[in-house]
């Protein structure tokens, strides 16, 4: 057990951020964590919540192992003096560690949508610490971490590109077990809203390539739509360019302007239903 006052003591949060694969995290301030309001609702989501909270604030927390060791060696005089819990209610080291990490992650997701957290994450974004978009036409646009869900333990962290509006799996294996909920569904949208410069960076890239340049060629020729191997998802990356397209885009303000009572109408309703389901699921 590290004795207090040791010079090479590293605070829990700083240590956490240095761990393998934790490169996307910023250090949440103690001030933020100590404000109960910011932790509303978390106590029910984290086992040994109190102990976990004390751990990440660098208070000494007893575990089953500590009590055993303390009892065995008489050299440590401070260990058992606290009027702590009965032995059977103490967490073991492994459970406490994972609880502390879970709690920190959930707090982190809340912190990065506050002004202070957002600013720190913006710095990481600017320094390209989340990596660049792998899509060639996005011209190394910086990525933004995002969780597919806000519920922990479900999905791993993904990366959002504000230029192609799509999400990607991190390139390095080290991020493949980082919980997406520790970054949350709201973060990229908020970052883009708060820092309009990001949209400028995207616009420059979007203007660089025209829709027509995308797609395959065979000996210089584009593949015809009617061909079985013709393009099917050009729409996915399309951006309104011509006057007609821009006019059409403006009609998409509130609803999809498609179909007047014919077959196609049904399809749209289906799509919108799907959308609602997704909204519910992510809440």
């Amino acid at each position: 057990m590290a004795s207090e006052g040791e010079e090479d003591y590293v605070p829990w949060i700083r240590q956490f951020c240095k761990l393998f694969g934790h490169d996307y995290f910023v250090a949440v301030s103690h001030e933020f964590i100590e404000d109960d309001f910011n932790l509303t609702g978390l106590s029910s989501q984290v086992p040994y919540y109190k102990e976990a909270l004390y751990t990440l604030l660098d208070y000494q927390v007893d575990t089953i192992e500590d009590v055993k060791n303390g009892g065995d060696s008489n050299n440590k005089n401070n260990n058992n003096t606290k009027p702590g819990k009965p032995k059977h209610e103490l967490p073991n080291r492994v459970i406490l560690d994972s609880s502390a990490e879970l709690l920190y992650g959930l707090i982190h997701a809340r912190y990065i949508v506050t002004k202070a957290g957002l600013t720190e994450m913006a710095g990481k974004f600017e320094r390209n610490e989340f990596g660049s978009c792998p899509r060639y036409y996005c011209d190394s646009m910086h990525l933004i971490p995002v969780g597919p869900l806000d519920i922990s333990g479900q999905e791993t962290v993904r990366l959002y590109c504000p230029c192609c509006n799509d999400t990607y799996v991190p390139q390095s294996l080290r991020f493949l077990n980082i919980d997406g909920a520790f970054f949350g569904t709201t973060f990229p949208g908020l970052l883009v809203q708060m820092f309009p410069e990001i949209e400028n960076q995207c616009r420059i890239r979007l203007n660089k390539y025209k829709n027509e340049e995308f797609g395959l060629r065979l000996f210089g020729f584009r593949i015809n739509e009617k061909s079985m191997s013709g393009p099917r998802v050009k729409w996915l990356r399309a951006v309104p360019e011509t006057a007609d397209e821009i006019a059409e885009y403006d009609k998409c303000e509130l609803r999809l302007p498609w179909g007047e009572g014919d077959d196609a109408d049904e399809e749209i309703e289906d799509d919108e239903e799907d959308d609602d389901d997704k909204t519910m699921a992510s809440e």
């Binding site: 959002y160 509006n165 999400t167 799996v169 210089g220 739509e225 191997s229 050009k234 309104p240 302007p257």
Partner: protein, 249 residues
């Protein structure tokens, strides 16, 4: 086993010890996307039409690639040998771009595609769909090799830096189109799913608008295809298209 000193290696002994030029080339880090080209193809002068402009001493290079000569027994200067080796690699790349458009070459690339030798699409909605190498230009020294995903129909940068120095011309602009034309079974189901950023559960307005416009483009495409007798089939994970069965026998 008796070992033979390196300087006594002779290519025409056809022992197991001989290291073929092509095998060595394919083993170089960064060359994972290349397939091996048949000697017959390389030796057929017809297939090399026009390449004499790109490299000098074409015949010598062909001999080197096909192990008809051995550079270790060469008495030319180190500098000279290094240049020759470099030119041989360029030539192999340029022949490769042509070879992979032939039936034999396509078959070899199909096997590599199936084993995921070209990596997998990083896009979440593509669910690790295997990629294909592609050049943005058929001209050498224009752009490094890129990867094409047939599911999202988009181009990606290779993940590893060692591929950033591989010339895209060694794969060519036409390869994925030729590949999919020949292996229609490799045309995947296309997802309709898109991503719209959210704030506290609500989709951001500007992004929803763009997303709606894109969905509109998709519906218009489906309409055009139906008029051209192409069937749109909604299947699990998205949609696929097929030629409408003609009436009668």
């Amino acid at each position: 086993m008796t070992s033979i000193p390196a300087d006594q290696y002779v290519t025409d002994t056809s022992t197991d010890i001989t290291e073929y030029w092509i095998d060595l080339f394919l083993g170089i880090k960064g060359n994972e996307y290349f397939c091996d080209i048949d000697d017959d193809y390389i030796r057929d002068r017809f297939n090399l039409t026009g390449l004499a402009q790109e490299v000098s001493h074409l015949s010598l290079l062909v001999d080197l690639i096909t192990d008809a000569i051995d550079m270790d027994n060469d008495d030319r200067s180190d500098e000279n040998r290094k240049n020759t080796e470099h030119d041989a690699r360029v030539l192999y790349g340029l022949i490769h771009a042509r070879y992979i458009l032939t039936l034999r070459g396509l078959t070899k690339m199909f096997d590599k595609f199936r084993t995921g030798d070209f990596g997998f699409c990083p896009r979440v909605n593509c669910e690790l769909h295997p990629l294909l190498p592609v050049g943005l230009s058929d001209q050498p020294r224009v752009a490094s090799v890129k990867l094409y995903c047939a599911k999202c129909e988009d181009f990606y940068n290779p993940k590893s830096n060692r591929h950033a120095v591989v010339d895209g011309a060694y794969f060519g602009r036409s390869f994925p189109a030729m590949f999919l034309l020949n292996y229609q079974q490799a045309i995947p189901v296309h997802s309709k799913q898109t991503y719209v950023p959210r704030l506290f559960g609500f989709k951001l307005h500007e992004y929803s608008k763009l997303d709606r416009w894109r969905q509109l483009q998709r519906l218009k495409l489906e309409d055009r295809l139906r008029k051209d007798n192409v069937e749109i089939d909604d299947v699990q994970g998205g949609f696929e298209t097929s030629k409408k069965e003609s009436q009668g026998p």
